[in-house]
Amino acid sequence: MSLNLEDVARIARLARIELSAAERETTRDQLNDILGFIEQLQAVDTTGIEPMAHAVDVVQRLRPDVVTETDRRADFQAVAPETEAGLYLVPRVVE
């Protein structure tokens, strides 16, 4: 199966990446090339094979529920595009 321009627009919306009309066409062609290449995976019989999510089979390590981080708000906000009074600023979302 191959993607059409609407599919590309939907994927771009899900990924929160703005694409111009011209970019949508190039993107459609390139994504279809890549999907055509990975299509060969469909022909493999994987009945009964356990999916491998990680390179090494280990169980998730848990840590005690205690505070380990120090307050470094000023350091972390120094690299933010826009802050005020210790808060991150974004466009208004509630009218």
Partner: protein, 492 residues
């Protein structure tokens, strides 16, 4: 003094201990070479001479206090460069992207912390493919890195800056990361030695995430002996990385001097078929002949599913990348578009402008394969095939101690040769990707020169946690040959 640019780390360590050179003099030697040669190569993208010299002075102070001091390691006072994927406190950490072009990290990656703790001196940050997505260094926001062996050719990627800087003797060592071959392929294309450890050996804390189940940091240097010293300092359990493995500390150099008599080398027939250039084949065959002279025997092994590794990787890696890179939203750090009408537009425009073409392509592929209705067909199927690929290695290692083959199907190619065709570019990593999928350790070391006098890399794949064995196998070859000592003419 200038002969030190070709010294091994052990020789540099001895020169520092004997006070034949100071850490400040050594750092200055390399900083001056960077000033001279980097403009043509574009390997370093962030330098801070004052910071570097301050670190070197601190190292000299440690060395002055003297041997026996626990603060001194064999790496104290030796300079290195960090791939710009590693967060370095107070230094710009861009990951090769406009998205992070102004990001000065508020903390150090575990690897940076450990190497600094060992007394190493940071020369600067090294160029790379944007977010480590690329095999040629052409996707960097800061422009491509040039291969010091021929500046019309790519250095490989994504750790291309690290590779070019070592090849040009702008640094004796560098860090790299390898998600699908990003340490080994540039090491091969620039004539160096690079090692990707077993997944979980080196902490990923502070290493900007691309595909978390595959990403692994490792050393790049001129020789296996150097890589062993670096890995000793880089490896170890870190509770801040949930996939870091709790294992007893190892001396990765412990077996370097073991003779190779009786070594069984597995040669996967899938790695020696069509697709490998003749010049690469000739150099790899000659290396195998050398190994037989050193007492090793070769046996054919089979990795029947390895042909599926590139397509499986291009489902798994983009899927994980699409999730990891969702954090770049223009809110807490990174690029924010100058104009937008609402929050959604701020996100989507910041991401459209801040990311380059290849990164966006992979995020879109990843988003698609994880989306409703396609998850089972793509992502789950790829994960099942990943298990088949790993199981092939388990079988193969019943027949041999290490696996060998080419690192890359060709020597370094010209700029633009593959950049218009993503799938062709993806196939550059055809011999390296299966190692990442299985979580195995892998190395590349120089084994000769091919067409146009460009370096060829021999790949060694070890069994899980077989780093010391791989390093032994590589070191014995490097004692018998001198490919790893060659240096490009243009930077002499």
């Amino acid at each position: 003094m200038s002969e030190l640019i070709n010294s091994s780390l052990r020789q540099l360590s001895a020169a520092l201990a004997a006070k034949k050179v100071s850490a400040v003099e050594l750092a200055t030697l390399f900083l001056d070479r960077i000033d001279k040669f980097n403009p043509a190569l574009n390997a370093f993208i962030t330098l801070d001479r004052d910071k570097t010299l301050a670190q070197a002075q601190a190292a000299d102070e440690k060395l002055r206090v003297g041997a026996g001091d626990t603060a001194i390691s064999p790496l104290t006072g030796i300079p290195l460069g960090h791939k710009d994927i590693f967060c370095t406190k107070g230094w710009r950490t861009s990951c090769g992207s406009q998205m992070l072009a102004n990001f000065v990290s508020p903390y150090d990656a575990n690897v940076v912390e450990k190497l600094a703790g060992a007394g190493m001196v940071t020369l600067g940050k090294l160029n790379m493919d944007e977010f480590a997505m690329g095999s040629s260094n052409e996707t960097s926001y800061f422009g491509p890195v040039k291969n010091p062996w021929d500046v019309s050719r790519v250095p490989g990627g994504s750790s291309g800056g690290s590779a070019a800087a070592i090849a040009a003797r702008l640094t004796p060592a560098a860090t790299g990361t390898d998600t699908g071959g990003s340490i080994r392929q540039p090491a091969a294309l620039c004539g160096l030695t690079g090692l990707k450890p077993t997944y979980g050996v080196v902490s990923r804390y502070g290493m900007i995430a691309f595909a978390s189940s595959l990403d692994q940091g490792g050393p790049m240097a001129k020789s296996a002996e150097d890589c062993a010293l670096l890995l000793n300092a880089m490896a170890g359990f870190d509770p801040r990385d949930s996939t870091s493995l709790e294992r007893p500390a190892e001396d990765y150099g412990r077996d370097l001097e073991k003779p190779l008599a009786g070594l069984k080398i597995g040669l996967p027939k899938e790695f020696f078929g069509a697709g490998m250039d003749d010049d690469v084949r000739a150099a790899v065959d000659a290396a195998l002949a050398e190994y037989r002279k050193l007492g090793a025997t070769t046996v054919e092994v089979q990795l029947p599913n390895s042909g599926l590794s590139v397509p499986a990787y291009y489902v798994i890696a983009p899927a994980e990348a699409s999730s990891n890179l969702s954090r770049f939203d223009g809110v807490r750090y990174g690029y924010r578009a100058p104009e937008y009408d609402d929050l959604t537009e701020m996100y989507s425009r910041s991401r459209a402008q801040g990311f380059g073409a290849e990164v966006k392509r992979r995020i879109l592929i990843g988003t698609y394969v994880l989306s409703h209705g396609y998850y089972d067909a793509y992502y789950l199927q790829a994960q099942k095939i990943r298990r088949l690929i790993a199981a092939d290695f388990v079988e193969a290692f019943k027949e041999c101690d290490v696996i060998m083959g080419p690192t890359s199907p060709s020597v370094a190619f010209a700029f633009g040769a593959k950049s218009a065709d993503p799938v062709q570019m993806y196939l550059s990593d055809i011999y390296t990707i299966s190692t990442n999928l299985a979580g195995l350790p892998g190395m590349s070391l120089p084994c000769g020169f091919g067409a146009n006098n460009m370096p060829v890399g021999l790949q060694i794949i070890g069994n899980w946690f077989g780093e010391a064995k791989m390093l032994n196998v590589a070191h014995q070859y490097q004692k018998a040959t001198d490919w790893h000592t060659r240096m490009p003419e243009g930077v002499k």
